[in-house]
Point group: C2
Chain length 184, copies 2
DNA sequence: ACCTGAACACCGTTCAAGT
DNA sequence: ACCTGAACACCGTTCAAGT
């Protein structure tokens, strides 16, 4: 990449991070180009879709969540491992308001720039779920897609201001539904 | 209301119903005015906000859901009553794609035209939940707001195309979480 | 090889001018 | 009393013209 191109690329990413943090992942791309002091066409060539920009911005976070899952797989209790990972994943989406809707769109669209990351995330969750199920700690009749749906639902809820005071409560209601209640 | 005003009002509502059904509750208001063959200003005077238009369109459905809840309250099993009502409520939102987000925004915003309907819906669910709790059929540590959150989460999931094949499964996972599992 | 911004086709919302 | 649509301030996306 030419030096000036690289500079624009980096500047766009840094500005996108700022603007998405302020306004959510559906912020105006025009505004990002403007604040990055870069032509609108430059943004579109580096990042042909909003998903491509999100992917470049969030790739390392996706990787970190996948790494965390691998790490947790060889940790103590399989149910606690699953719950911690769910918590971290929800926290990640919460830090990036508006990202769960494109992720949900991307998971079954191989053309989306977010597809691979979402599939990886679903697989990471599926592994932790499988271990918990093998231990008898999680409902046997759930799969990775359903876990991903539950994550998405919780993530979307957390984006709703009216839901905020109940976010932690609902998280535990849903995780209770995933885990086998060993006190029963 | 003057006769011509009434005619425009009705025409707008009928067209909005069509367009929202085709494109979801976030469809273009301009498009609705155009297809209703009415000036854009006329739409805005009759319905100052998108919420006002949705409210006029859906009021009877909200009333029907509240009536259904009252009816179910004096029916057989309290757990089955709650589940049927949840099912009908989710089906309603599914018929009106895009409506759950403004509803979630309206529930804590008294200025929203959808506020009263949403509060009514939450109260209707809360009644059925309270009866199921009194019978020992539902988790005691849930309230109407949390039930509304769960409804919203399921409704949002159902709007996601990728989720479609798992909609019924996830519904039962969530209702299992609400109901006390009497086989345990 | 890369950048720019005008151009196009849309929005939501307001409001002066009309009937 | 009500209606209309131009006007304004935005979008996303493309692409001819520049360096």
């Amino acid at each position: 990449m030419r030096a000036d191109a690289k500079k624009n690329y980096d500047q766009l990413l840094a500005t996108a991070r700022e603007v998405f943090t302020e306004q959510g992942a559906d912020a105006s791309l025009r505004d990002i180009a403007r604040r990055a002091e870069v032509g609108l066409g430059t943004l579109y060539r580096h990042f042909p879709t909003r998903e491509a920009l999100l992917e470049a911005l969030l790739r390392s976070s996706f990787d970190a969540l996948a790494a965390k899952a691998r790490e947790l797989e060889s940790s103590g209790a399989s149910d606690e491992a699953l719950v911690s990972w769910l918590q971290e994943t929800i926290a990640f989406t919460h830090e990036h308001r508006g990202v769960i809707a494109p992720m949900m769109g991307a998971i079954e669209d191989p053309e989306s720039a977010l597809h691979a990351s979402c599939v990886m995330l679903r697989a990471a969750g599926a592994s932790l779920l499988a271990r918990a199920q093998a231990d008898g700690n999680a409902r046997a009749d759930l799969d990775g897609s359903e876990l991903f749906d539950l994550i998405a639902a919780l993530a979307w809820l957390r984006e709703q201001p009216s839901h905020a005071p109940r976010a932690d409560r609902l998280f535990s209601v849903i995780t209770d539904a995933v885990l086998v209640n060993r006190d029963a």
